[in-house]
Symmetry: C2
Subunit: 347 residues, 2 copies
DNA sequence: GATTAGCACTCTCGCATTGAGAGTGCTAAC
DNA sequence: GTTAGCACTCTCAATGCGAGAGTGCTAATC
């Protein structure tokens, strides 16, 4: 257990280290923080904190650096969560209301806003239902024997697929078919579809097979898109000053690997979760490159209803207070926007 | 002007340097390439090549390194374009036919394939008409006073926008409205729309205003999406071994800046264009970080019809022959796929 | 006159050394 | 329990050195 003074010193050291990224010396603390004790005493306390695993020594004669355990204690008990400053709130709201068309770029935008706001990398997934339902489908003739299937799912998500038919159909025929299928299948889930595909024309069968396969892949999360922004913030931190580390992280987060490296959906739960270092069992495959990083995960939307996840990825040495509150704030903003859009402004 | 032997030596040096990224010595050339002259003679020729600006000296006593001018000569006259190896072709085709649904992820996939194939970064833009036309529109009720406008444009591109209406409309009313609007506006361009918006109901007006604004922004290229993949290949090259260079390039290409840094549409023309170093006037704003890079730009689709651009970004020290032929090959594959999908398999 | 062998010269790179500075750990006094 | 004082450790930057690589030049050769 830590004494009051030890806790305060740990807090000071973390604050100092987060800001300057350089090991913190006893003398420096004495001169810049109101500890009420001499450097020697602070040194003793530091030794004790190190004994208990909250601090570390790069080498014999250098200042102290917080460990993962140190950060965790800080986040869980020492830190007090600060409000998101009013002007930061305004900036976020402003940027958000710039674009409010469909969610094509919504998640992307959210990621960019978040990244800029906390000056770290941010990931935002598109909102998704646990099990999606057909809201509407439409068939649009493209040319000769090909046409486009447009599928609107219940959270307003769009899916499309180009189909080649065996025969030639006019737009009128396609529209009529679409109307019929809509009447029959609206509101159905992928599972409910499975048992209800008798008595269909050749065209209808072709369409419904495609619908089925699209919905399955959406259900499986294959269609979940995670947008990453602001990697540069993380990579310009001093912990990535050697380019090996840069490549490690880049390899991990760039491109397709993202969702494998950070299983956002699995991590997102009510409230905000903080993962410090690669300590969490969920991040085992992340390993190496993530060892010096922390992830702050939040979720938006309503559970059961459409929901998505948002996260900040940054070095372990991170302004947790600010970051956590920003994630929480943004999650609220996004939840609200989502419910406004899809449940009516009055709802 | 260069003699035959000088040209060959330049070619050897470039080949060597491209592969090993280390300055090339006269003795090495003598022992590994059929020049038919001694190291001393090769040294003399190298001095001459340097005089003329094709080679460079990192310092007095080190081998030679090609300059931008050297690479340009190589690409324009010395190099012979190699065929894309059969198995590489197969790999590309295979990967491409894995997914062939709409182009949501198409450009992304193409970028990934290209990046992997040439082991460099790749950018692919979504196909786009010079001036887009309405193919079809659809209205889907979401909740109470909001509904979704789904707009299918002529190259099969989908756009969506959430609208809030003044009043309450049923799905039937919305569908009827959509049918009417389709009849009236199908095939129209943004401009043609402008003069033809009289005599509309409140709902219709709301919809057509949204349609108009979406189409304008698509026309302006604001909606053009450029997908970047494989940055890691470039960044792991030795020219980016110091992390400053990494950050420079990352800042430039990551996120929103991409299309500003490389104005793909402006660069793409018939055939394949090679930009070596930041020598091209079009890349002036790219500057610094791109100075050590080359860009190979191609275009796919048909001019006048839907078309897009694809590009490879890599260090100046690049396997030009292979890269150029791969870009050309992929452009052909994509053009074909595009025409198959949207002009009918028989066309 | 072009080519080549030979050699001095230059510059890099890796390695060990050195000295200053920072910060701790320990001991003894308060 | 706290603190002053001091020796000790380790880093970091600068310096010097030797080996090695590769050139540039000169003089001999074909």
């Amino acid at each position: 257990m830590l004494t009051e003074r030890q806790s305060r010193i740990l807090g000071f050291i973390i604050g100092e280290y987060v800001e300057h990224a350089t090991p913190v010396a006893s003398q420096y603390i004495e001169q810049n923080y109101p500890v009420g004790a001499s450097a020697a005493t602070i040194r003793n306390e530091m030794a004790e904190l190190e004994e208990q695993g909250y601090l570390n020594h790069p080498h014999t004669s250098s200042g102290r650096v917080p460990t993962g355990k140190g950060y965790r204690l800080y986040v869980e008990t020492l830190m007090r969560e600060e409000e998101v400053p009013w002007d930061a709130q305004q900036t976020i709201l402003h940027q958000f209301h710039q674009i409010e068309q469909g969610q094509e770029s919504w998640a992307q935008l959210a990621a960019a806003v978040l990244a800029q706001s906390v000056e770290n990398a941010a990931v935002v997934t598109t909102p998704r239902m646990d099990v999606c339902r057909i809201k509407h489908l439409e068939l649009v003739s493209l040319h000769d024997m090909t046409f486009l299937l447009v599928l609107v799912l219940d959270e307003g998500r769009l899916e499309q697929q180009v189909l080649s038919s065996g025969g030639l159909y006019s737009q009128e025929e396609l529209s009529a078919t679409a109307t019929q299928l809509n009447r029959r299948y609206e509101g159905k889930t992928s599972k409910e579809l499975a048992g209800d595909e008798t008595d269909l024309s050749e065209l209808e069968l072709l369409v419904m097979e495609a619908v089925h396969s699209v919905m399955r892949s959406v259900d499986e999360g294959g269609a979940e898109e995670a947008h990453l922004e602001g990697l540069r913030h993380v990579l310009s931190q001093p912990e990535f000053s050697n380019s090996e580390a840069v490549l490690g992280l880049l390899e991990l987060l760039d491109g397709q690997n993202l969702s494998r490296a950070i299983p956002l959906r699995a991590l997102a739960r009510e409230g905000v979760t903080v993962i410090i270092g690669a300590d969490s069992p969920q991040l085992t495959n992340a390993s190496e490159a993530m060892r010096a990083c922390s992830v702050i995960v939040g979720s938006y939307g309503a559970p059961g209803d459409a929901s998505g996840a948002l996260a900040v990825v940054g070095p372990m040495r991170m302004r947790y207070s600010r970051t956590i509150s920003t994630v929480r704030y943004l999650a609220d903003v996004m939840s609200e926007l989502l419910s406004e859009q899809y449940e009516g402004p009055t709802g």
